[in-house]
């Protein structure tokens, strides 16, 4: 400092004139330090399909530009990679993502590992006013709201309105329909424990969860209750196929299937098929069984605790949950919007078949956490294996249907 002041004093001896120097330097600095925010970036990781990733970008990018003039980068990852990556965040302590689109079943683990930020109270209040209540409940972990709901996913019974005259009161009832030859009455994916476990519980009279000790008993009861609709062999095999939903949709579109349990994902294929269809909550397997409560899952937006702009990321999450962007996202993903109110009502007017899924959502129960899911998956896979081994090789009625082109 001394040489500098000496230099300054060499030129300027009057303190009055010296006082202008800091002013000039401040002016210089203020002009030159107006840094644009172009290098600030909001990174969003997701396992959504590419077409949905594009929609996500189209929704988030203008939002981020509007809110803070920052760029958005979407990184689509395979689901397994996304899961591993986000889980690894806790161990490493940081990961270059700000916002992640993840299933609600991950929330418990993410919250307990302190990977994600809690949603601020005023955002929760806004969501309470603008979103469907079940969606908001699905965001809670130990009483704290940890995510912004984006979409809901739940299964419902979809039936051919020309083949099934009225809403079936139970699944067994579908086995008694008079159907054209080669048309199967019902198909449902029993590998999806989110459907199978509630059905098993219903089969033995339980309303929500099934005690593990009763699993074998419930399985026997369910097989008996569904046998009129599923027969004893080929259809069962179809129902135990992991990738069955797409097959069901194809068979349904070709009128080779009267009813199936499916998610909103099939709506696009069904709408293109011109087959008249209706959507209703999954009925119980037998007339005396209580209504099953399939598991509903949600797609959520979570904010990384290490995000350098948590306010911005949370604001984007909120906008995705409570504004019109939510509808566009769900249309692209073929999932249920969580947005309530006028916009949602308008959507129901345009796509009345969604109403059945909303009914199913209201009757559903929340998907348990990731850990519980994995335990169920393991146990249920074992039971399914046993069913497959026990199935007869032929069945007169369904075999004929399956063999028909």
């Amino acid at each position: 400092m001394r040489p500098l002041s000496a230099l300054v004093r060499l030129f300027y001896r009057s303190p009055e004139e010296l006082s202008r120097l800091p002013l000039l330097f401040l002016l210089s600095l203020s002009v030159s330090c107006q840094v644009p925010t172009a290098d600030v970036k909001l990174t969003v990781v997701t396992a959504l399909p590419p077409s949905v990733a594009i929609t996500l970008y189209r929704q988030i990018s203008p939002l981020a530009q509007k809110l803070a003039k920052v760029n958005v980068e979407i990184i689509p990852l395979p689901e397994f990679t996304l899961k591993e990556t986000i889980m690894a965040t806790a161990a490493v302590g940081a990961w270059p993502w700000d916002l992640a689109i993840v299933p609600s079943s991950w929330l418990r683990v993410l919250a307990r590992q302190q990977v994600i930020l809690e949603v601020p109270g005023h955002h929760v209040q806004q969501m309470e006013e603008a979103t469907a209540l079940p969606a908001l409940l699905g965001m809670q972990v130990d009483g704290r709201t940890m995510a912004y709901p984006i979409a809901a996913d739940v299964v419902a019974l979809i039936f051919n309105a020309s083949l099934v005259p009225k809403e079936p009161s139970c699944l067994a009832e579908l086995g008694h329909l008079s159907l054209p030859p080669g048309t199967m009455p019902l198909a449902l994916n029993l590998t999806e424990y989110s459907l199978a476990l509630p059905l098993l519980a219903s089969a033995v009279g339980a309303t929500t969860t099934l005690e593990e000790s009763k699993l074998s008993e419930a399985l026997a009861a369910l097989r008996q209750q569904l046998s009129p609709a599923l027969g004893h062999g080929e259809t069962w095999k179809l129902c135990l196929e992991p990738q069955a939903e797409a097959v069901f949709a194809q068979l349904f579109a070709e009128q080779r299937l009267a009813a199936f349990v499916g998610s909103p994902k099939v709506l696009g294929v069904l709408a293109a098929s011109k087959v008249p269809f209706r959507v209703v909550p999954v009925p119980p397997p037998c007339p005396n069984c209580p209504a099953p409560r399939p598991w509903a899952s949600f797609l959520t937006a979570v904010v990384n605790v290490a995000c350098p702009y948590p306010d911005l990321a949370q604001r984007v999450g909120l906008e995705l949950a409570i504004h019109q962007e939510n509808l566009a996202m769900n249309l692209a993903m073929r999932t249920l919007p969580v947005l309530a109110g006028d916009e949602s009502a308008k959507l129901l007017g345009d796509f009345p078949e969604l109403f059945g899924f909303y009914r199913a959502l209201a009757a559903a129960q929340l998907t348990p956490g990731l850990k519980e899911e994995l335990e169920y998956e393991k146990r249920w896979a074992k039971e399914l294996g046993e069913i497959l081994l026990s199935l007869p090789t032929t069945n007169s009625r369904t075999s004929n249907a399956l063999r028909k082109r």
Binding site: V8, F11, Y12, E17, L21, L24, F25, L27, S28, L29, V31, S32, C33, V35, P36, A38, D39, K41, P49, P50, S51, V52, A53, I54, Y57, R58, S61, P62, N71, V72, E73, I74, I75, P76, P78, E234, K237, L238, E241, P242, Q243, A244, E245, A246, V247, A249, Q250, L251, R256, K265, V266, G268, V269, A272, M333, R334, A401, L402, R403, R405
Partner: protein
């Protein structure tokens, strides 16, 4: 601040200097920006080239995966003894589809579609369905010849897809089985390969299939990214189409590259401006200092400061001007002092002893003034000293009006004579006033006979009401009168005169002045500072005929 905007030569010079530097800085900045722009463009081209390679690799990876899936699925299919399109076949297709990440699988015989399976989320769109047989004859011919083929299917509306087909089995025409694997072409293939400042496009035959990041407007893609772009053919497909990757700089790419340099440039320019301003001010100050001195000197002279001399700072024209000013001031002063000298000589002419008296009074007055200044009682400017000196010389000029008989009378004075004597300060003051610019000297002369306790004449002033210069001259005059022979008294010894001075301190004389005078007189007695205590005016005046003062 207002002062700074007042027009002045220094401001103009500073501004001119600053503007010159600014012009130079802007000129150099423009050249530098040109160079930087060129470098940034090269850098951006490098970035684009790297991004293009990465993007091309990603697209190729998808094509390879499609072809690998096609071959793997064909092998699976080849092991099935027959393929009728039954539900079991459908299940089989879905099962094998789930092993891959392709969107759609279709099995044809030579005439029609036997079965299809598609990913519900990505492969269900009608535009992804394969029209059989491939309309491109080359693709059809290759397929029939048993060669695996890959081509691009671009419907009129909807998304384009890459299709890869292979003949699985050949028996009869009816039994020939073809497998077609479909992968929707999406620009998100480019995700992760492109830096944030670039936009990537997939292009086939000149038409854009999509961009990543997706464009947010309906504008033509390239209108958003004018400027730098680079393209590479990733694959030549069997339908003779080429799949290209185009990577272009986004709108803000160059700006984001250039901004740090622009910011640096602005900082350097501003810093150089500040420096230029400082240097300009300093130079202007130095250049204009003689002019400033001249201005102040002229103003001082106008106020009557005849002893003004300008410092000769330089040897240039302004230095010469200062020298000429000094010479002019000297001439004026000499003329002025000539008048004073004339007056002094008139007084001298009236009595023989008075000349030495005036000389001693002037010398001792200046010595006493210097002692007071040294002791911190007062501070004299050169002009004040000049005035004091003039007053000391002319303090008795009023005696011109007194007749020589009274002035040189050895005996006691009559009342009339005394009255004449008492009026001489006023007369002297009036004479000096008329000389112009010597009002202060006149005021001193008028009070030269006022006593500290108010018993003096002509106005009976006392204490601080009497100008300090007058108090000094009074004490010095009295001391000189006591120590020199006068017509009416003998010279008294030095110690007695000092004692008399001290006795009259606070009465006739200012005590402070008395002590300063005694010190000055003591020094003079000891021969210290005699040469420096006098202003020298009186010697100059009296010797002016022989040696006139010079400007230098």
């Amino acid at each position: 601040m207002k002062k700074w905007f007042t027009p002045s030569l220094r401001r103009y010079l500073t501004l001119s200097h600053t503007l010159t530097v600014l012009t130079l800085a802007l000129g150099m900045g423009a050249v530098a920006m040109g160079v930087v722009w060129s470098r940034a463009r090269t850098l951006q081209e490098g970035i684009l080239s790297q991004a293009e390679s990465l993007a091309a690799e990603k697209v190729l990876e998808h094509i390879r995966r499609l072809e690998a899936a096609r071959d793997g699925l064909a092998m699976e299919l080849a092991f099935r003894p027959s393929f009728s399109g039954s539900t079991e076949d459908l299940l089989f297709l879905h099962r094998v589809l789930s092993y891959t990440d392709i969107d759609r699988l279709e099995v044809f015989n030579s005439r029609r579609l036997l079965a299809q399976a598609y990913n519900l989320e990505t492969g269900g769109a009608a535009e992804l369905a394969t029209p059989w047989f491939p309309q491109n004859p080359q693709v059809a011919a290759l397929l029939l010849a048993g060669r695996p083929v890959t081509w691009l299917h671009k419907p009129q509306r909807g998304m384009a897809s890459l299709k890869s087909a292979v003949k699985v089995r050949e028996a009869t025409e009816e039994e020939s089985i073809f497998l077609v694997a479909t992968l929707a072409v999406t620009p998100s293939w480019l995700a992760g390969a492109l830096p944030s400042t670039t936009v990537g496009f997939l292009r086939v035959g000149g038409s854009i299939l999509g961009s990543w990041p997706p464009l947010l407007t309906e504008e033509q893609p390239f209108t958003l990214v004018k400027g730098l772009n680079t393209s590479r053919v990733v694959a030549r497909l069997n339908d003779d189409s080429s799949l290209e990757v185009v990577v272009a700089s986004g709108k803000g790419a160059m700006a984001s590259l250039l901004w740090p340099m622009i910011r640096g440039g602005i900082l350097i320019t501003l810093a150089s401006l500040v420096l230029a301003f400082l240097l300009g001010e300093t130079l202007a100050r130095r250049i204009l200092a003689p002019l400033h001195d001249l201005l102040e000197g002229t103003a001082a002279m106008a106020r009557g400061h005849l002893s003004v001399r300008l410092p000769i700072r330089r040897k240039d024209e302004l230095g010469a001007l200062a020298r000429e000013f000094n010479r002019m001031a000297d001439e004026l002063r000499t003329t002025y002092l000539g008048v004073i000298a004339t007056l002094a000589e008139v007084v001298e002419a009236k009595s023989a002893y008075t000349r030495e008296h005036i000389e001693r009074v002037e010398r001792l007055t200046m010595a006493t003034a210097n002692i007071l200044e040294k002791r911190g009682w007062t501070k004299w400017s050169s002009h004040q000293k000049f005035i004091l000196s003039v007053a000391a010389i002319l303090h008795d000029v009023g005696k011109i009006s007194i007749g020589n008989d009274i002035l040189n009378k050895a005996g006691p004075l009559t009342t009339g004579e005394r009255s004449e004597i008492l009026s001489h300060p006023e007369v002297g003051a009036k004479i000096v006033e008329r000389m112009g610019k010597l009002d202060r000297a006149a005021e001193i002369i008028r009070a030269c006979h006022e006593h500290y306790d108010g018993s003096g004449y002509p106005r009976g002033l006392k204490g601080q009401e009497i100008p300090l210069e007058a108090r000094i001259i009074l004490a010095v005059d009295a001391f000189d009168a006591m120590t020199q022979v006068r017509p009416y008294s003998k010279a008294r010894p030095w110690e007695e005169a000092v004692a008399e001075l001290r006795a009259q301190a606070g009465k006739q004389f200012d005590p402070v002045v008395v002590e300063a005078l005694i010190e000055a007189a003591s020094r003079e007695l000891r021969g210290e500072g005699a040469a420096t205590t006098s202003s020298g005016f009186y010697q100059v005046l009296t010797e002016s005929d022989e040696k006139a003062p010079t400007a230098s």
